[in-house]
Amino acid sequence: MEAILFFLAAIGALGGAVGVIALRNPFYGVLGLIVHLFSLAVLFLLLTAAFVAAAQVVVYAGAVMVLYVFVVAYVGGAEESAWESIPGQRFLAPLLGLALFVELAIAVLSSSLLALGTDGPHVRAGFGDPAAIGYLLLEKFLLPFEASSILLLLAAVGAIVLAGRQRAGVR
């Protein structure tokens, strides 16, 4: 059962990812990314990371993707030009991507990960639930938690400065 669910979610995640890079209309690309994110949430649930899965669906698929949809609707799906600044980029880029995957696969397979071959230890019932993660965030990782909240505030201010309405005479 777990294996079937894993492969279904893996196919969904991979299909969504390929859809993002293959579809010409950015709007369909955003929809592909939503499929990808939901499949990843299923994978997180299989890995007993309930809070991360919930945050993935609520924050990503809920909030960030809405932002994407609005921006795509605002700027419109511009056609990509055929002009290439690097000759042969269309053929070189997939080769380089494939080389990256081969490299990563070699790195994974030659590590001691296979020798471990483990499903992980048997975890207790509350592993990865909001209470445990919240406890960790507020006890052990308080400084990273506060730093990321300041980062979010800075990003919000930066977005307003970048995309806000410009005053007359100011470029």
Partner: protein, 99 residues
């Protein structure tokens, strides 16, 4: 499912995202591909966290999610600003800062 399946899937997703960044020129799609790569990293973090039986990897994944949200907000703000100045939305044509 043992954890190496998740790690191999995550490296595959990372490679797909990197390929997208190399191939596509629209800044919106490049940002989407960045999301793909960050999520692949997240999947590996959560898989390792399950394998070790330690929840700290999941906290890292949440921090990565926050970073991704910040990056999206700034990136989309830049795209809107570029669009308002009537500049071409093409990462190969926006090369004024290039040396």
């Amino acid at each position: 499912m043992s954890a190496e399946w998740y790690v191999v899937l995550s490296s595959l997703l990372f490679a797909v995202g990197a390929m997208g960044i190399l191939v596509r020129r629209s800044p919106v799609v490049v940002l989407l591909c960045l999301e793909l790569m960050l999520n692949a990293g997240n999947l590996a973090l959560v898989a390792f966290s399950r394998m070790v039986g330690n929840q700290q990897g999941q906290v890292f994944a949440i921090v990565v999610m926050v970073i991704a949200a910040c990056e999206v907000v700034i990136g989309l703000g830049l795209i809107v600003a570029i669009f308002r100045r009537r500049l071409p939305l093409d990462v190969d044509r926006l090369r004024e800062l290039r040396g």
